[in-house]
Amino acid sequence: MLAIACIKQVPDTTQVQIDPETNTLVREGIPFIVNPYDTHALEESLRMHDQFGMRSIALSMGPPNTEATLRKACALGVDEAILLSDRCFGGADTLATSNVLATAIDRLAQEEELGIVFCGKQTIDGDTAQVGPGIASRLGLQQLTLVDKIEHLDLEKKTIRVRRKLEGRHEIVEAPLPVMITTVRELNRPRYPTVPMRLAARDVEVRTWDNATLQIDPETVGLKGSPTWVCKIFSPERDQGEIIGDGVNDPDGTADLLIDKLLSKDLLAL
């Protein structure tokens, strides 16, 4: 049974700046990282492998350099890493991305029974949280979003019970397999790769599937298949802050001033 983790290589957004002239992201020289939420998706698929003997697969759509990210997944111990890469996949929005990922998952499911697809709850560059649900909709999977705990997995009855982390409350949900789960940070603590695994991952073959393999209608992928267009990116103007008091010489007085200020803005509930 398959436990597939969909992961995305993203620019380290803490290091990305916006070019004020062109209103685009300056990505030059910015290191790529695995989308932090996806590291939890990957970890959970590895745990499915460790605990239930499922086959863990890391799947990523992106340019050829995404191979580095998949190699990291190999160092962590996935059974297989597959890169979905084709020029025509470029410029995709969430609709087009979920199309490619769903097609690839469907292809994998032809050969082996699909158990769970794990996705991070959202990416830190797009923040849409749409790709996971998009995959579920396309493949007709039960979708369990914002999962912070897997309560029970019964491979005999093929059911799963999870806890969803919602605003101010938890929700326990049960669903029949196969399911699509989006993961939050609280779900697990991602493992750290051992050196022997890192070294072995250097030589592992990362399979690449292009559109010749996937055979998707080019009109439904990449830029062409993306109805969403980003018009402008900008940093919101922020009001100038102010320095109150003298924290070095009069910490107590400054703390009083700060509390008065917060009260006057109604930011402190008393």
């Binding site: 290191p31 750290y192 790769p193 051992t194 070294l199």
Partner: protein, 658 residues
């Protein structure tokens, strides 16, 4: 030859052979370890051996060491005399009495006095072991057994002499005050009684000797009488806290989870240890109630080697794991993580055992082969690898502190020094003030400097001491390549951890240029009058805390003190534990990034020690120490005491204002 002589001959021959054989058997076990012998710089090594083994220099660094020195020197003398005892027992013609008086009398006098001194040392040892042991487990059977055997041996020696004097056979009796005194007790005995007494004492003396040579030396911690001499010869002549590199190839071992993966010297160390407990007493982790004891670590390595030797020789899996909760012979993971690599144990050990090196090898295994480490380290590891600093702050912020100084990108043509700011200096808000102070001082002295800004990577000190050699290796290689690419000739650091890493560890990566810590640079600039301070700025009662990585690991004790004296015009207070014996702040060895969950806090202990002197300012020259002492002062409710880096004190004197 009489039958008794034949028995003696056979007995001593067998004993001598057994002694050599058992020594060979035991010491050849070190060959199960890795690495090559240390026979380079032979003269220097030989000198070390004379000074530290035969001269007992480090043993005598502590008052009680006098007692050991008496044992040792008396033993050296008495070994020679005992050789005569053995030989004369078999071949009476070899008896010392055949020597002329000019030689014979001094030897007899010396033997008498040394034997008596040894008895005194035995008494002192018994009192100490019973009433003031350095650690409670020192009150063990083996510890008492050796001193008692020595006492028996000495008493029997006096017994032999006393009977010989009573028999009128000792011509030097007037020069043997103790033996002469003892002979008074048996004056009235008949010749037959004296003969039996002589025989009794002779055999007691002989049996004690056999026990020492055929049991205590080869099979107990008293093997150190031989191995400690070797250990002084084989000591690390460079920096014993600079861990060796690892090669990252498929199939290699990363770190050690078995004694066979330790170095031969690690194993030899375990045989050189006499479990005196000085390391344990000096260890900040042990001192604050944590699980780690450097003494126990070395003992466990020895016990593990002894338990696993057959399996290792036969290429089998060792039955007793080196890491784990298996009692004696096994090191618990908790104790492995307790170490701050401060080197207090290295300093305390009279025979140069290298404790932290072993701890780091065990950590390397845990991190690199098992991914098993305290969970708070995961962030450190990921951040260091992805954003090249421990906090995971964007590298683009690294040069922000420098904005008031304008663009200071390093330029080999224009700049004398590369200012390797370090992560704390670049990102920690408190340490940024120190960085600015160092920059200001260099400006005032006309020293040209530049920074690598966002291209500087963490030096990797914490990673290396925590055993994450793989990531350290990447950072080190990239930093060194960058230094070469930019044509760096001299580097100044404001952090002892960066300093030691660049100056010592990076040598392994081919970096062979001047690396200087800011304390030394400032001292030099002051001495050369390139830096002049318009006025001295008083700091009130001022204490200086030695950073382990500046002081103990790099022998820089004087420069920061000298700088402080010149900047303030006042004398310094000293901690009770200072300089070589300084007490760690608790942040070294990557402990900066870890929780301190067991025992009391090391930084609070250090701060309590400081507060006894009621200082107004505690000075340091290390960002980690600064954080730890500052936090400790707040915890102790002494937030009014200031913690300042020496550079800040100098900068204040430059500005002439607070």
């Amino acid at each position: 030859m009489t039958s008794s002589k034949i028995i003696i001959l056979l007995l001593f021959s067998a004993s001598g052979l057994a002694f050599v054989w058992s020594l060979y058997r035991r010491l050849s076990l070190v060959q199960l370890g890795q690495g090559k012998g240390r026979f380079d710089r032979f003269g220097e090594r030989f000198g070390n051996m004379l000074l530290y083994a035969f001269g007992q220099k480090k043993v005598l660094a502590r008052p009680y060491g006098v007692n050991h020195a008496i044992f040792f020197w008396a033993c050296l003398f008495l070994v020679a005399v005992n050789l005569e005892f053995v030989l004369a027992g078999i071949f009476p013609a070899l008896h010392l009495s055949h020597l002329p008086d000019a030689l014979y009398v001094p030897i007899r006098l010396g033997s008498d006095l040394f034997s008596f001194l040894t008895l005194g040392a035995v008494a002192a040892a018994l009192v100490r072991r019973t009433f003031f042991p350095l650690y409670p487990e020192a009150r063990n059977i083996e510890g008492y057994f050796i001193v008692i055997i020595i006492a028996v041996h000495m008493l029997a020696y006096f017994g032999i002499n006393a009977t010989e004097i009573a028999q009128g056979q000792e011509r030097a009796s007037a020069w043997m005050p103790i033996s002469l005194f003892a002979s008074g007790f048996i004056k009235g005995a008949s010749p037959a009684e004296l003969a039996s007494l002589h025989s009794l004492f002779w055999w007691v003396h002989a049996v004690a000797l056999l026990v020492i040579f055929n049991y205590l030396i080869p099979f107990s911690k008293h093997l150190h009488v031989i191995t400690a001499i070797g250990n002084c010869f084989f000591r690390d002549l460079d920096k014993p806290n600079t861990q060796p590199r690892e090669t990252f190839e498929i199939g290699a071992d990363f770190g050690a989870d078995s004694v066979a993966k330790l170095s031969w010297k690690d194993l030899f160390d375990s045989f050189a240890c006499t479990e005196c407990g000085r390391c344990e007493e000096a260890c900040p982790a042990h001192h604050t109630g944590k699980k780690l004891s450097p003494r126990q670590l070395i003992h466990d390595i020895k016990q593990n080697l002894l338990a696993n030797r057959e399996a290792i020789k036969n290429g089998q899996e060792p039955p007793l794991p080196l890491i784990g909760e298996n009692g004696e012979g096994s090191c618990s993971e908790e104790s492995i993580w307790d170490c701050t690599t401060c080197g207090a144990c290295l300093q305390a050990c009279p025979v140069f055992i290298e404790h932290p090196l072993k701890t780091v090898k065990l950590r390397r295994h845990l991190v690199q082969e098992k991914s098993s480490f305290p969970e708070e380290l995961l962030n450190l590891f990921e951040n260091s690898e992805q954003r090249f600093n421990p906090w995971g702050i964007p590298p683009s912020d690294r040069g922000k502190w420098c904005q008031p100084f304008g663009d200071r990108t390093f330029d080999a043509e224009q700049n004398e020094y590369l200012f390797f700011v370090g992560c704390a200096g670049a990102f920690d808000n408190r340490s940024k003030h120190v960085t600015a102070a160092v920059a200001m001082i260099m400006e005032a002295a006309g020293v040209t400097w530049g920074i690598l800004d966002k291209d500087e990577l963490c030096c990797g000190d914490s990673l290396r001491r925590l055993g994450n050699e793989y990531v350290f290796d990447q950072l080190a290689a990239k930093n060194v390549a960058l230094f070469k690419e930019r044509g760096v000739k001299k580097i100044v650091t404001q952090c002892p951890h960066c300093f030691t890493t660049l100056a010592n560890d990076y040598r392994q990566y081919g970096l062979d240029i001047e690396v200087i810590h800011h304390s030394e640079l400032i001292e030099k600039l002051l001495a050369e009058n390139k830096l002049t301070l318009p006025q001295q700025k008083k700091q009130g009662k001022m204490l200086f805390h030695d950073s382990c990585y500046l002081g103990r690991h790099n022998d820089n004790f004087d420069a920061p003190r000298q700088v402080l004296k010149q900047a303030t015009g006042s004398s310094l207070l000293e901690f009770g534990r200072n300089r070589e014996n300084g007490f760690c702040c608790g942040a070294g060895g990557g402990r900066m990034w870890m929780e301190e969950l067991s025992g009391t806090r090391i930084n609070r202990e250090r701060v309590q020690e400081a507060l006894q002197q009621k200082p107004e300012t505690i000075c340091t020259a290390c960002p980690y120490c600064m954080t730890m002492l500052g936090d400790g002062l707040k915890d102790e409710g002494a937030g009014e005491v200031k913690v300042k880096d020496i550079a800040e004190v100098v900068a204040e004197a430059l500005e002439g204002q607070a």
